[in-house]
Symmetry: C2
Subunit: 224 residues, 2 copies
Amino acid sequence: MSEPLAKKLKYRFNDPHYLKVALTHCSKGSEHNERLEFLGDAVVNFVIADILYRQFPGATEGELSRWRASLVNRDTLADLARQFELGKYIFLGPGEIKSGGQTRSSILSCAMEAIIGAVYLDGGFEATHERISAWYQDLLQSLSSAASHKDSKTVLQEYVQGLRLALPVYTVEKIEGEAHQQRFTISCEVEHLDIKAIGMGTSRRRGEQAAAQAMLAEIKRGKK
Amino acid sequence: MSEPLAKKLKYRFNDPHYLKVALTHCSKGSEHNERLEFLGDAVVNFVIADILYRQFPGATEGELSRWRASLVNRDTLADLARQFELGKYIFLGPGEIKSGGQTRSSILSCAMEAIIGAVYLDGGFEATHERISAWYQDLLQSLSSAASHKDSKTVLQEYVQGLRLALPVYTVEKIEGEAHQQRFTISCEVEHLDIKAIGMGTSRRRGEQAAAQAMLAEIKRGKK
């Protein structure tokens, strides 16, 4: 059982008993995964808080809380569980097997939290931190690019407001490509700065963010 | 500032800037403690979950959750803050000073969480775990003795129910001492077991728990 799963998780348990308990639903046995789920929930909430804190030094407490809630919840944990095909390895009681428990998000997300708790008990804090970072890498990256795009427009706006200038003006210069693969070319201008920056993106919003980023780069270069 | 506080916390910051930020309320400065509070909240919830998980191997997930909520909340964190006299060291804006912010539980508990976050960034996970364990030692001890007392009566009840015997009968045998220092002597009997166990405690409830514990010890001895 544990070898293919260990490969997917990229974690090999020193004591496979932890993994077995983490995979045992309360419908199956008396030593089930609910305690480990409690522990794992606390671990993953802390590790994601830690990663967000360090990755976004400019974010407010409210943003960090919101982003963590978007990363640690039943759906994202069940998605992780599905990536690792946990459903194939979970021990369920006969009633749960019959009703398709191995595909249910609540059961999968609990098992995923229990596995996180088990990795912590088995391998310690550093190993768990490293694994959670890796498992969440894609989600963290999407969040990061969404957040940094948002930042460019906000940062630019705050900058021009600080100089008491008019707000940046974004203009769609060009739309290329077919319906599903459009590319937007957006210009960004700030009155009195005499700079026109160009950005491109797969949506108007993304193009504007890229243009704002280009404008910020121009302003920075002009200051040197 | 930091020397007397370091003595109380029994933690000396490598980088005192962390401590300064942790003590700065948002009414005071732009670099305030709200982000550290977010981080510290996650740390303390995890560390207490970890301690409870290990300390109570027989507890259910529900008990662990309930006990953690009783240990990590505004009141207990504000109490810790008061033990360390954090109010003396907090940086508040003039409005908050005027309205007595340094004694308010919300401000104190946030600063306490921020200090926990700051210790984590400054000293790493192991150091933080060690400090939280020490700061919570008394609360954990009371919880532990309350939980183990509770367990004795519950464990005994479950044991006799498993044998389909009548429930244990607790009788007050003696009450000694003056009003504030009474000592209750309680007997515990289980029909068909022919054992009478005696327990004493400063309340009737505590005496019953002690009697149940004594009964469990008798039963265990009889089995050997």
